[in-house]
Symmetry: C2
Subunit: 214 residues, 2 copies
């Protein structure tokens, strides 16, 4: 697949790198500098290059939206027409201090995004694990895989997201419609709290298990 990265920071940079290593064609866009994008593309190996958000979006089979919540409007505007695009969003609706969700309870960042981009096909994913765990999970793939929840309203887009989740070493767990982001986004903050406030470091993953399988 051809995957455009909108926001090549901690999450976008790492996930784009892993998508490239998994054999996808990746365009990194929207980082602090063009230089950083070029370095990401060089280091990723595989077919990866630096580009603008519009270049990342063009002909993309999937876009990863991985910018800070405050940058969503800007990157979306730069990306251009996103009609019918599969957008896998890991952007949590955080305030500028990254201390709390600005949306919650009876809505979610994912639902707000979907209302903003009515013609795009939104899936919420990759936001419930810390970026620090990604390379380790990718390298360990093949053993018991950690879970990764995702949700969305477009079945085809969810299949794309599930494939990408599998490609980077996780076991995709379909949490239902996009509205479930009301639960997965606070869950993401719970995981972040355990990862960054706990004593054992941020390389934290989770796994849902049916008891018959334990």
């Amino acid at each position: 697949m051809r995957i455009g990265i909108l926001g090549s920071g901690l999450m976008g940079g790492k996930l784009g790198t892993l998508f490239a290593r998994a054999g996808h064609e990746v365009v990194f866009s929207y980082a602090r500098s063009r230089k950083k994008l070029e370095k990401l593309a060089r280091d990723a190996g595989g077919i990866a290059r630096a580009g603008t958000p519009a270049e990342a979006a063009r002909d993309a089979d999937a876009l990863l939206l991985a910018v800070h919540w405050s940058r969503v409007d800007d990157v979306v505007k730069q990306a251009g027409d996103l009609s019918n695009k599969v957008i896998v969003s890991c952007s949590l609706p955080m305030n500028d201090d990254d201390t709390e969700l600005v949306v919650g309870h009876r809505s979610s960042g994912a639902e707000k995004l979907a209302r903003k981009l009515r013609k795009a096909r939104i899936v919420s994913a990759f936001n419930t694990v810390p970026s620090e765990v990604l390379f380790g999970v990718f390298e360990a793939r093949g053993k018991t895989k950690p879970s990764l929840v995702f949700c969305g309203d477009d079945a085809g887009a969810k299949e794309v997201a599930a494939r990408l989740i599998r490609d980077v070493g996780f076991d995709p767990v379909d949490a239902g419609p996009l509205q479930t982001a009301r639960y997965t986004e606070p869950f993401a903050l719970l995981v972040a709290r355990l990862a960054y406030e706990g004593e054992d470091g941020p390389e934290l993953a989770y796994r849902f298990e049916h008891l018959s399988a334990t």
Copy 2:
């Protein structure tokens, strides 16, 4: 320990039974009928009996609050003075239809409860796994344990909760202050969704793992 069960339904009935099997003295209270309480006490084995909420609270080292959110005021009133009591609450702030949380985002059921019972020592726990998984986890204890998150502001009360969590076969995961219930309560609904809407049945547990340990 002596443990009073306030609300002997699906969760309270099962957890009280497991607390008794783990060697604690249990008083079951607040079910549809006195008969049900007596049957629970008989079936639990160990030292268990039926009582009123006031009897459950008297001399209790810990109380399990396991009523529907709409019944909290009533059972608390019947229980009497709860000053200095350790209250482990698994009551989620659900609406009457059990379809959604009535509190969320910038508050939580646990925080509302703590404001209601200012002198009690509240821990939020046991609400992030379905009741269906409890007996299986208890019987399987000794192998890799599933996690169970809990949170609260009183260190001593949290130690009591962690011990009870261990006693029924889970690995306690301290999620921090009671405010973290803003994340754990939506997480509970995510788990419920995966348990009850999924294809593999409700015997679902979860485990947080640091990658070095996988």
